[in-house]
């Protein structure tokens, strides 16, 4: 199962390196969000420390949409040849999940410094904990995004449907990462710890449940 997942992941990474169809547009969009936030909220006049966590995470989530939504649409457009391969269905889900985690991590690695510089707030203290929050948050977003992306890819609307499915679904995750980041800025590490627990629970549940249910999706 893991081996098959590894091969599919390798295929997708190779495709991404050759075509750069996901990361470049999503990354440009992410940087553009930081610029536009700067214009809209004018950080030089009004300090953005209070709202920075919310702005950063909304930016990352929106940019990640572009990447996450494509993962299954690619297969749907290739007339589902991958589904004919004699592999466990769960491994297909895991491969797409791993791809989405990698893509969102790269996006966040580009966007976080850009946001911190352009919005003039700097990274939060306890940078190690902050990186943990980012990693866990993006794993959760990717898990939910992969599951919803698999559903949306087979509809008439494709990725257009994804925001309506994914955004309400990940609202606890957004609350979690924003509150945890805010707690770090406020120096309340214990409060951040509680939120990190919540994010971790979200991650575990929405990796395990879709893996179990994914079999059904490939039947029809």
């Amino acid at each position: 199962m893991i081996r098959a997942a590894g091969w599919i992941l390798w295929k997708d990474i190779t495709l991404e390196f050759r075509g750069r169809e996901l990361l470049v547009p999503a990354g440009v969009f992410g940087l553009l969000i930081a610029m536009l936030y700067g214009f809209a909220f004018d950080p030089a006049k009004n300090g953005l420390h209070g709202t920075f966590p919310g702005l950063l995470w909304l930016g990352i989530f929106f940019a990640s949409f572009l990447a996450v939504g494509r993962a299954f649409s690619v297969e749907a457009e290739a007339s589902q040849q991958l589904l004919l391969a004699p592999i466990d269905r769960g491994s297909l889900f895991l491969a797409k999940l791993a791809l989405n985690i990698l893509l969102t991590l790269v996006l966040a690695a580009v966007m976080t410094p850009a946001f911190a510089i352009l919005l003039q707030t700097g990274l939060p203290p306890e940078t190690g904990t902050f990186l943990l929050i980012e990693a866990l948050g993006l794993v959760g977003f990717s898990a939910a995004g992969t599951a919803m992306g698999a559903l949306a890819a087979q509809t008439r609307l494709r990725e257009l449907l994804l925001p309506a499915l994914l955004l309400p679904f990940t609202s606890p995750l957004l609350l979690g990462v924003v509150s945890a980041t805010k707690a770090l800025y406020g120096g309340e590490v214990a409060a951040a710890g509680n939120w990190i627990m919540l994010i971790a629970i979200f991650d575990v549940i929405f990796i395990v449940v879709p893996v179990l249910l994914f079999e059904f999706l490939t039947e029809v």
Binding site: A147, L165, P168, S171, P172, L175, I205, V209, V220
Partner: protein, 225 residues
């Protein structure tokens, strides 16, 4: 099921009489707290309908027979659940305006209900966007399961979030008297029977549609198309 309405209509009349006339006014909120009856009835029934949707979704995935009928009930429970959630939000916002002074507060239950609304609006959107019946059935069942698991997490996170948020409006609690409890119970059963009736009506309609489609295909086949 056909006789549901004969129970439902007297129940509604009784419940309305009890809630609007029989029960005395509340001390601090006066007559306005009577919104509470229809609000609570709708909220509980909405939750029950969405729980029923979860159960039906499970059955669709794991039962071998009669899945099409179950799928019709999945559609019906989600629609009625969403309808009643909308009713809960509408009556709740009006009551919040009276009791707390604003149409919207970031109260955990209010916020969770709003997210619930979006989640199940998504469910209906997903159904709408899939043309092939088999796929629609399985995909929406999977979505229904995942989303229902998400609801407790949403509630937990929103509660934590509001506890670190300054709460502007304090919840004016109502002490429930036995008289009020009777009215609450009547209203709950009235809305419950209404929901059952609506779900049945909607599922029957879906069934009719399927029969019509099958008949059309058969007819076209006979005519040699």
């Amino acid at each position: 099921m056909r006789y549901l309405r004969w129970v439902s209509v007297p129940l509604w009349i009784a419940a309305l009489y009890l809630a609007l006339i029989w029960v005395p006014d509340e001390r601090s909120l006066g007559v306005s707290y009577r919104i509470f009856y229809i609000h609570l009835g709708m909220a509980w029934t909405a939750l029950l309908a969405l729980t029923a949707n979860f159960v039906v979704s499970l059955l669709v995935l794991f039962m071998k027979r009669r899945r099409e009928t179950l799928d019709n009930y999945a559609q019906a429970t989600a629609e009625v659940g969403l309808l009643m959630t909308t009713a809960t939000l509408a009556s709740g916002m009006l009551w919040a305006k009276v009791a707390w002074g604003a149409f919207w507060t970031w109260d955990p239950r209010l916020t969770t209900t709003a997210i619930l609304w979006f989640l199940y609006a998504g469910y209906l959107l997903l159904r709408e966007a899939i043309d092939q019946p088999q796929r629609r059935m399985v995909y929406s069942a999977v979505y229904g399961l995942i989303v229902f698991i998400d609801v407790p997490i949403v509630y937990l996170s929103v509660r934590w979030w509001t506890s670190i948020h300054p709460v502007v409006f304090t919840n004016t609690g109502i002490n429930i008297t036995p008289q009020m409890l009777i009215a609450v119970i009547f209203f709950f059963f009235a809305t419950l029977f209404l929901a059952l009736d609506l779900i049945w009506l909607r599922a029957k309609q879906q069934d009719l549609r399927e029969r019509l489609e099958r008949m059309r295909e058969q007819r076209l086949g006979e005519l040699g198309y």
